[in-house]
């Protein structure tokens, strides 16, 4: 499991670890039932304290992304969508905020932006067709 922590970001490390595990699950790089590294192992790999890793795993467990089996380790849970609706919305909101900021600075109004987005989406579908 490869996790890249950023020091240029003040987001607590336990959240960075938890978020990245979710993305690895969402992108299929971590599969259901797959075992995660031990708390100590990941702490040494990332040079962060075991407390931080344990907190990330607890966070993931409370959200149902992983299951911790006593004595056996921590595993990706089965079949649960790794990203909750709230999480999906959070990710999209970030992108949309950036888009809105930019379009306002460029003087593009909301109606035009929506029209552009729709056109783009149609084109996107078309490209996908062609690729197939």
């Amino acid at each position: 499991m490869q996790i890249q922590l950023s020091e240029a970001d003040g987001t607590p490390y336990y959240l960075q670890v938890a978020n990245q595990v979710k993305f690895l699950v969402a992108s299929g790089r971590l599969e259901p039932h797959e075992q995660l590294p031990s708390v100590r192992g990941l702490a040494q790999q990332l040079t962060i304290t075991p407390n931080t890793v344990a907190r990330a795993y607890r966070e993931l467990e409370s959200e149902g992304v992983v299951i911790s089996k006593r004595g056996a380790g921590v595993f990706i849970s089965n079949g649960v969508s790794p990203l909750s609706n709230k999480e999906k919305r959070r990710i999209l909101n970030e992108r949309m905020d950036a888009l809105l900021t930019e379009s306002r600075q460029l003087g593009v109004d909301e109606a035009t932006l929506l029209k552009l987005l729709r056109q783009r989406s149609q084109k996107f579908d078309l490209y996908k067709e062609v690729e197939k």
């Binding site: 970001d9 075991p50 407390n51």
Partner: protein
């Protein structure tokens, strides 16, 4: 045993007229990595020397494993691995002699572990201390601090002035120490990105006083950074509660803030300022903002 490995209460210290420590209260829980940060001359080394029993408190108490380090040096130092800022190793010795010499003080010296560390740090037994490079000196000092597997590791500026490879060794050693069940690390550092990476808790020391002592995650989430845009250029940044530091000119400013988010947002709205961006400042940005804020209140 108490769950706090180190307990410091109301510790004060003067050197002549200079107050080096003023009513310091600090607890270090077992099994955590505690980072001590502060500007040069803030009192970090003085505080660590009290923990090690090298200085006697003029006021207040210091307890390590429940013991007074001044009264019971073997009881405390036998369980502590420490690396001083000046890495004062005897200059006439070779690495081999240094091992034998240090080993005599620690009944729990682990020769297998010492040898493992020596190989990892690529130190040769016949090399003499004065011929060691800065990085090798740090590694040798670290080895001596670790080889008796102490339950408490105290490191004073362990990575200042070292190259990234040696710094990585030091951080790895800190992590390896806490990964071994229940062990504790107290270290001071200037390198705030490192402190942010490896610490569970931090304390900021400023002119002998504890400015802040808290779990690192709490420090990080209680501070935030805003980029704001005013409708008119501002010659000076307006006075706002919660704003610790600001940089910028004209219409756009960046502010580092602590708490009081609703009040601050309301105040900005009143000034017709728009929040363009909000992000999480790093520990370094928080530290600088705190220091600027202290300087400002001292100046007024």
């Amino acid at each position: 045993m108490s769950e706090h490995v180190i307990e410091i209460s109301d510790l004060s210290r003067h050197f002549g007229k200079k107050q080096a420590l003023a009513n310091v209260n600090l607890s270090v829980p077992e099994g955590c990595v505690f980072g001590l940060v502060g500007e040069n001359g803030a009192g970090k080394t003085t505080l660590l020397k009290h923990v090690l029993g090298f200085l006697k408190p003029q006021q207040g108490t210091v307890r390590v494993f429940g013991l007074d380090p001044v009264v019971d040096p073997p009881g405390v130092l036998g369980r502590v691995g420490h690396l001083s800022e000046t890495r004062d190793l005897p200059t006439w010795m070779s690495i081999r002699e240094l091992f034998e010499f240090t080993r005599a003080f620690y009944p729990k010296w682990d020769p297998v572990y010492a040898e493992e560390l020596r190989n990892m740090f690529e130190l040769s037994l016949n090399q003499k201390v004065p011929t060691l490079s800065r990085g090798q000196l740090a590694r040798a000092g670290l080895l001596l601090a670790l080889a008796h597997r102490p339950p408490l590791l105290v490191l004073d500026e362990p990575s200042s002035g070292l190259d990234p490879v040696v710094r990585k060794d030091i951080l790895d050693a800190i992590i390896r120490t806490v990964v071994d069940e229940g062990r504790t690390v107290l270290f001071s550092s200037h390198l705030l990105d490192e402190v942010q990476r490896v610490s569970d808790r931090i304390a900021i020391l400023d002119q002998g006083k504890i400015l802040l002592a808290s779990p690192l995650d709490e420090v990080l989430v209680s501070h935030y950074q805003l980029t704001v845009s005013f409708q008119e250029p501002q010659p000076f940044f307006p006075q706002l509660t919660g704003a610790l530091m600001w940089t910028g000119s004209g219409r756009e400013w960046k502010i580092v803030c602590n708490g009081q988010k609703q009040e601050l947002e309301a105040a900005l709205q009143e000034l017709n300022a728009e929040i363009l961006e909000q992000n999480a400042p790093t520990l370094e940005e928080i530290f600088v903002a705190r220091m600027k804020s202290v300087e400002r209140s001292a100046a007024t």
